[in-house]
């Protein structure tokens, strides 16, 4: 019996990567010029900011929480960063501020949820609107522009975060290195530290964790702050990839992050999930979107099929949990 359940878990682990590879091969065969360095780079570049958001929210979802403010906080941080830069602030400070705005909203979410006991859904729904409003108010509802690669001041911004002349390649996707770095750090924190262990523990049974003498509130605060840090970084990556930030946007972007996490096999009820799953989930989404477009399918179809994949992924997650429970018995 024991051996059988072991096999099952291995299969589960392979499922998401296998789906990713098969999707890639499938679109390479049927898409118009899908299998090319350009397309690969496009997939990467569209994934950076979603990846950062997803890494951050993975921690939160594992605790059984949710963060609806992801997208608007990301936009708010990118907006304020660009705004301060436009006002004459040195770019490096604007970059730091961008991350700090993310951390600030993480702290705010943490306070509301861990200390003031608001349900995460409500608390982050509130901060979603607060951050969107704040970005619009401070920028006076005008779109803000980060420096482009050819700008004399601040041209390094894009070269640092999105593409650079590295290893002899013109336009090397340097953002991938940031994503990889963030992935390694997030994985280490989640799987190798006390912080990570408590994250799982809170998600499995918060009360039991509290009773075993762990200061759940403080750790939870920490989790939301860490997530905020990742979201601030997501703001930077978004700014590097898309340059212009429009006030009043960001609603709906949170779903990109959350969808990646869910496809990656993290349970919305908390207590389980992996960082590598999230990474793969994010890429499944990007490959699907890019691939469908290379087949000539327009945006609404891409949204439609992403929805189908989310439903399938969660259905399978439920089946998996059922099977696991049966095996335990």
């Amino acid at each position: 019996m024991k051996k059988l359940s072991g096999d099952k878990i291995d299969m589960n682990k392979l499922l998401a990567p296998a789906a990713l590879i098969i999707l890639y091969i499938f679109f390479s065969a049927f898409g118009n010029n899908f299998f090319s360095a350009d397309t690969f780079k496009n997939i990467l570049e569209a994934s950076y900011y979603i990846g950062f958001m997803a890494f951050g929210v993975t921690f939160i979802i594992i605790t059984g929480g949710i963060d609806l403010s992801l997208g608007t906080v990301m936009m708010c941080s990118a907006l304020l960063g660009a705004y301060t830069f436009k006002q004459g602030c040195p770019l490096i400070l604007s970059v730091l501020l961008t991350i700090l705005v993310g951390v600030f909203f993480g702290l705010l979410n943490g306070l509301l949820i861990a200390k003031l006991k608001l349900p995460p859904f409500i608390a982050t729904l509130g901060t979603q609107m607060v951050s969107q409003g704040m970005g619009s108010i401070i920028t006076k509802v005008q779109s803000q522009t980060w420096p482009t690669a050819t700008d004399l001041t601040g041209g390094w911004f894009k070269r640092t975060f999105i593409r650079a002349n590295l290893f002899g390649i013109n336009g090397f996707p340097v953002g991938a290195l940031w994503l990889l770095g963030a992935f390694v750090i997030a994985t280490l924190i989640l799987h190798k530290t006390k912080f990570g262990r408590y994250t799982y523990a809170m998600g499995s049974n918060e009360e039991a964790t509290r009773l075993s003498g762990i200061n759940v509130d403080n750790w939870k605060m920490g989790i939301y702050i860490l997530s905020g840090l990742f979201i601030g970084m997501a703001g930077l990556m978004y700014a590097a990839a898309y340059t212009t930030i429009t006030p009043g946007t960001g609603n709906g972007q949170e779903m990109n992050g959350i969808t990646g996490v869910v496809i990656g096999g993290t349970s919305m009820s908390g207590g389980s999930g992996t960082m590598v799953g999230t990474l793969i989930g994010v890429f499944i989404m990007s490959v699907l979107k890019t691939g469908l477009s290379s087949c000539g399918l327009q945006a609404p179809w891409q949204t439609f099929f992403t929805g189908v994949v989310v439903i399938l992924a969660v259905l399978m997650d439920i089946q998996r949990t059922k099977a696991a429970n049966r095996a335990k018995k």
Partner: protein
């Protein structure tokens, strides 16, 4: 065992999903091909693949652009791909689409840029790959890459100034402006859908500048509201108030419209596009409040663009009239210019023109074809 079954099921579904997709796309292509075979043979040896990336799909306006593009594609035997982001603020979605289309190595590309700066680097790649880009609807000002060969668009400032001229000819409004005093000022509201796109900024500016020029005959004019257009003067008896919604969604426009409608002394409103009109109409009970005997019967309203709701408001006489660009020609010219550019011919900017339509002339054939549903 069960797991294997599930994997198989997932794969099968994915495949089906993908294939339906590819199937649908190829059917579309064939239709375009078959109907345009003759001309295609005339125009060039093989089918050209040209993607046109619009700012969105949700407004009727883009459907008419698409109709024009389709007709031109048929004429020249072009395999046309027309797409746009889900909403007109989805800059990231458009950048990704543009990159994806570029990866297919088209012979030329059409682009209605949501944010020119965001596309600078991709345009550089176009220049590197020698793929000419034709802008439609909105241009990329001072394109640093040189990839943009020409633009087919409306001169938005000139077009919007038509509405200001019509306001200047409206006796009801002129009377109010004459009688206005700094203590009892008359307010002319303007709602651009955003303060971001060159189109909206241009229309706002075109209207505000002309309106100011006309209204100055009757008193001191101040321009308040959004920073972009602000030009304040003391002791003004005529106030031009430019209000921008928080987001481009109809509900946000409605909110702005409501606050404008409650402004004391409001005499006229100019709405800079179909989105602004839709939101405004929502704030005036779908236009009924503007009708004879309605709450705002005295209000003089003009719009921009067309669309079913706006046309109805014009036909009923609720609106003084509206300005319309020529979306059909924008789409048609964009494809035609792409074809020419792909063949190495030189192309230059085209002003696709604008007209004023009101209840009296909107059924004239030459106007009716511009005023789409």
């Amino acid at each position: 065992m069960k797991m294997k079954k599930r994997i198989a099921l997932l794969l099968a579904l994915t495949m089906v999903a993908g294939m339906t997709g590819c199937g649908a796309a190829s059917t579309e292509t064939t239709t375009t091909d078959s109907s345009g075979t003759e001309e295609a043979a005339e125009a060039s040896g093989e089918t050209m693949y040209i993607p046109l990336l619009a700012k969105g799909f949700q407004h009727q306006y883009w459907q008419t652009v698409y109709a024009g593009a389709k007709d031109a594609a048929e004429k020249y035997g072009v395999e046309l791909y027309f797409d746009g982001p889900p909403s007109e603020t989805d800059i990231d979605a458009q950048v990704n689409m543009f990159k994806q289309e570029l990866a297919k190595n088209p012979v030329a590309m059409g682009l209605a840029a949501l944010s020119p700066e965001s596309l600078y680097e991709v345009l550089d790649e176009c220049a590197e790959k020698n793929i000419p880009v034709v802008c439609f609807d909105a241009g990329v000002p001072d394109d640093p890459s040189g990839a943009v060969v020409a633009t087919a668009s409306t001169d938005n400032e000139a077009a919007a100034s038509i509405a200001a001229e019509k306001f200047g000819e409206c006796e009801k409004l002129v009377e109010k402006m004459k009688n206005a005093t700094p203590e009892n000022p008359v307010v002319i509201g303007v709602i651009p859908q955003d303060a971001v796109s060159a189109t909206q900024i241009g229309r706002g500016k075109g209207f505000v500048d002309k309106m100011k020029e006309i209204a100055s005959q009757y008193g001191t004019v101040t321009v308040t509201g959004h920073e972009v257009w602000k030009d304040e003067a003391d002791n003004a008896s005529i106030i031009i108030d430019v209000e921008v919604p928080a987001t481009t969604e109809a509900v946000s426009v409605q909110t702005v419209a409501n606050s404008l409608l409650s402004t004391k002394g409001l005499a006229a409103v100019f709405l800079c596009n179909e989105g602004a009109v839709t939101g405004f109409l929502a704030a005036v009970s779908d236009g009924e409040d503007l009708a004879e005997g309605g709450k705002y019967a005295e209000l003089v309203v003009a719009g921009f663009d067309a669309g079913a709701a706006q046309k109805n408001a014009v036909r009923q006489g609720w609106f003084l009239g509206s300005v319309s660009q020529n979306p059909y020609m924008i789409g048609y010219d964009a494809v035609e210019m792409c074809v020419k550019a792909a063949k190495g011919e030189t192309v230059s900017d085209i002003d696709t023109g604008a007209v004023w339509y009101d209840a009296s002339n909107m059924d004239d054939p030459e106007i009716a074809q511009l005023v789409y549903d």
